[in-house]
Amino acid sequence: MIDQLVLLPVIVPLLGAGLCLVFGRSAQAQRAISVVVLLSVVATAAVLLVRADHHGPVTVTVAGWPADLGINLVADRLSALMLLVSAFVTLCVLLYSFGQGIVEFGRESPLSVFHPTFLVLSAGVSNAFLAGDLFNLFVGFEILLASSYVLITLGGTEARIRAGTIYIVVSLMSSALFLIAIACVYAATGTVGLAALAGRMGELPDAVQMLLQLLLLTTFCIKAAVFPLSAWLPDSYPTAPAPVTAVFAGLLTKVGVYAIIRTQTLLFPDSPLNDLLLWAAILTMVIGILGAVAQSDIKRVLSFTLVSHIGFMLFGVALADPLGLTGAVFYIVHHITVQTTLFLVVGLVEYREGTTNTEKLGGLARSAPVLAVMFFVPAMNLAGIPPLSGFLGKLALIRGGVGDATPLAYAAVAAALATSLLTLYALAKVWSRAFWQPLEDGEAIEEPAPSEPRQRSGGSLHGRTGVSTKTEVESSWQRFVHDERLPMSMALPTLALVLASTALTVTAGPLFSFTERSATEMHERTPYIQAVLGDEAP
């Protein structure tokens, strides 16, 4: 009976989204429904986590079809952990968005689609984490992508339409590739169930296996923004409203990383492509962070560090041993919380100052000390300053790399260390420009004039939430500029996330032993396969 709980994280947000549409006229009702729904998802995820840890993977075979034909939802340790962290982060971002909603468009928000779409996004993320077969994984991806299309173009301003177009075209391409991959997998094996595939994949000729693996990896690498396929991310994320960027940055790329981990460990355990993945990880880390160093807008700096740090997780996956996987899973948990927190803090900076361009900011450490601390702690965490969780995650990955002891693994370790230093450099630059150095009024920064003067302040001007386009002239958001006090309803959820990301240091011991158990479970493969296929398992 308790197994049926696995269905809740997918069904409840979808039902909640429907209810939100019914109560589309009342912002209060929508908020209440959204909070209750996400709280129940967090609770369910916590129960699943405990159960998966003590009794092995929790599975449901929907409608009672045989496991290799029908739809399965599986919550093993990895899925349950991802689900819990993502649900918690989604809840915090939702609470944050309330504050922004109240402040920016009065009590009745004109965007009645925001809450339903946000809940659908949450359902899609849950479905992707719990999917026990490739096609259901595809459906999960599509649910979250479809709602992300709506969220990224929210308000329909010119800049968001432009950024959204790029995002949507890239996502459509990856979806088409995923479908091709699924059709090929089905043609080769006659099933799309992950557990059934784990047994049948090994019987295929090596060339076919490699073709399937490359197809799946390309798809997931687009979604996870791994280097040669990462250019879309910094281009499209910064324009969206702060809560939307935060939840995208925290969750969407991690769903891609999760899919890579799942397929690599379950379907291709003795993969010949691990060296290729290591190369991709090295290039993602280094090139991503070099991009971050060149930027002057905080949102764009963070988008590039996001790409760069995907490389760390890929590094752990490419090592393909329990040590590397332990580090990778720990790093995902750390990175989801920290990256989301940073984007929310930047949302607060934008709210307060009206811009996120470091060349126009200054002296925030003096004028907004609380905000400065809320930026500083997660920024140092991301860079990996001991004793914060970023340091522990990087240490685990580097230990895995050294344990692997191949020249390429050492190269990846070197790249990881260099990337950490450069992350520190990029974030210290933001810190000293925007927070530390006093703002010099008379100083005109020479900047080549962009073609369109309306977009002069880049990500900042069109980054405002939701004001409908035809009225979006500079004066409509100028009144928010230099608002001295931060609204508590935005600051408190951010503070909660800052505390949660810092608390990962304190709980690192239990969390590490959990990720270690999870990595061992994935490496063995049998617990997952047996939980799904039952007695049919070979």
Partner: protein
């Protein structure tokens, strides 16, 4: 399992035309490209289901049934393609409303940084005393040559 060659040729043509259209700048053409690719992929599911047979309904007749599972998947994919195409068309319409065309533009911020690199301008915190040293790309030499 024998593969129907004409089906494969049709898939190849559809996907090739689709990819050509996706490489265009106009969003409407890109969308038409994705519709073509989507149709090609749906046909690919028919190929992957193996030999064609009678309709997969139990008790309707004798003889081998065709595999229903890829059909179910193709159906799901068709619905998803329909939804995303509708959204994409709305997006193209909105872009046309705002700018008079639906071409995908380059990123303004990217362009700024690229131009800053071309100008070789320095940031506010740049140490002036280092400026006498020639930089690594040798752009100073070009300036001297220009003089």
């Amino acid at each position: 399992m024998t593969v129907n060659l004409s089906l494969v040729v049709v898939i190849a043509v559809l996907v090739a035309c689709g990819v050509t259209l996706v490489l265009e700048r106009s969003l409407t053409r890109v969308l038409v490209g994705f519709v073509l690719i989507g149709n090609g992929v749906n046909l690919l599911f028919l190929v992957s289901s193996g030999d064609a047979g009678r309709a997969p309904i139990v008790g309707l007749g004798d003889g081998p049934m065709s595999d229903p599972l890829p059909q179910a998947m193709a159906l799901t994919a068709i619905v998803i393609t329909l939804g995303t195409t509708a959204f994409g068309l709305a997006l193209a319409y909105r872009a046309w409303q705002l700018t008079g065309h639906d071409d995908v533009q380059d990123d303004v911020e990217d362009d700024l940084i690229r131009r800053r690199a071309e100008l070789d301008s320095t940031s506010a915190t740049f140490d002036e005393s280092d400026e006498a040293l020639p930089d690594e790309e040798g752009s100073d030499l070009d300036e001297e040559a220009a003089r």
